[in-house]
Symmetry: C2
Subunit: 174 residues, 2 copies
DNA sequence: GTCTATAATTAGATAGAC
DNA sequence: GTCTATCTAATTATAGAC
C-alpha cells in the first residue's frame, strides 16, 4: 500500500487512484475524503486484530497463554506488514475524534497481554516489577520483528517465533 | 519540532518559518531545500548518538557493559524524544543517497550492542540463540520507552531504567 | 459508476528590494 | 540577512457529461 511506503501526507489521491486503476474523482465514490480513508484502514486493521485474537485458542497456564500471545502477535503482524506500519506511523495524521477511536482499540489489545502478565504474576509464574511497563516493553519487542523480517531471509518464521517466545518468557521472569 | 508532531510531508516550509519567526524565503539562507533540512536533522542526531556512546565509560564484564548500554540508550533517547521520533519515522522520506548514509549510522550503533552480546555469548555470560536477532529485539524494546514515557509520570526515570535493565538482562539470558 | 474539467488552495523554491 | 512578491506545479475536492 502506498500509505505504508511513502506516508499518508506524501501520497496524493491521484496516486491512489492510479494504483487502483481509476481517475482521482472516482475515489470519492468510495470514501468521503482522504482522512476517512486512512481512518477506516486503521480501524479495520485493529478490529481484525482483536477479532483474530478472540478466535485464537487460549492456553491453560499463564506460561502457555504468554506463548500463545507471543506467537499470535508475531504471526498476525508479519502477515500484514503494511497495515501494521500504517497503524503505528500514521497516528499523528488522524484527526482527534478518529485518533481517540484508534487509541481505544489499541489499548484494548494491550489489555489482553496485560491480563496475562497480571494473572501470571499472581500465580508467581512470572516475576515482573511493573505489569504495565512489561506489557509495553514486550509488545514493542514483538512488533519490532516487522522492521527487519523479510520472507525468505536467514531465519524461518517458525524459528523467529520460537526465539522471540523465549526472550519474552525470560523477560517476564518465567 | 514540527516534523516530529505532524511528519515531514505534512509540514510546510511556511509553517517552519513561522515557528522560527521568519518568512518562508529566509529559510533558504540556511538550507538548500526541505529534504536537506530533514537529512541534516537525522544525521546530526545519529552522529551525536554515536559520539555520546563513544564518550560513555564502559563496564568491565559483558554484564556490566550490557547494563551500561541499556541505561545509556534509555537516557539518551528520553532526552531527545523529537529527534528519536523523526529518526525512526521519516526514513521513508529520505532520498536514496541520504537514506544510505543514515542507515549506515544506525547500523554502526546497532553493532555496538551486537558486539557486547557476542562477547558475552563467548564468555557464556549470556545465552542468546541468535545474536543479530537479540540485538534488534533489545533495541526495539529499549526504544519503545519513548512511546509511552512522560516526564513526571508514575515512574521515575531511574526506576524505568532499572526495570528495563532487568528485562534486557533476562532477555539476554544473563 | 467513471471520466473530464475545473475550482480553490497550497506547496517548494526563487528574484529582487532594502 | 530578511522580507515581499511571485512562479510553477501539485493538492483536495466537486460538478456535470456520459
Amino acid at each position: 500500500m502506498l500509505f505504508a511506503r511513502h506516508g499518508y501526507a506524501a501520497v496524493s489521491m491521484r496516486q491512489i487512484a492510479a494504483e487502483v486503476g481509476v481517475q482521482a474523482g472516482a475515489l470519492y465514490l468510495y470514501t468521503p475524503d482522504k482522512q476517512t480513508l486512512l481512518f477506516n484502514l486503521m480501524r479495520t486493521h485493529l478490529e481484525e486484530l482483536l477479532a483474530a485474537w478472540a478466535a485464537e485458542p487460549k492456553g491453560e497456564t499463564p506460561q502457555e497463554r504468554l506463548e500463545v500471545f507471543s506467537r499470535f502477535h508475531i504471526r498476525f503482524h508479519l502477515d500484514r506488514p503494511d497495515e501494521v506500519f500504517i497503524a503505528y506511523m500514521e497516528l499523528r495524521n488522524l484527526e482527534p475524534d478518529n485518533f481517540a477511536v484508534i487509541e481505544r482499540l489499541r489499548h484494548d489489545y494491550e489489555s489482553e497481554l496485560e491480563s496475562i502478565l497480571k494473572d501470571g504474576s499472581e500465580t508467581e509464574d512470572f516475576r515482573v516489577p511493573d505489569i504495565k511497563l512489561a506489557t509495553l516493553a514486550i509488545i514493542a519487542m514483538l512488533t519490532g520483528v516487522n522492521t527487519w523480517y523479510r520472507e525468505g531471509g536467514r531465519l524461518s518464521r517458525d524459528r523467529v517465533e520460537r526465539i522471540y517466545c523465549n526472550m519474552v518468557r525470560r523477560a517476564a521472569g518465567a
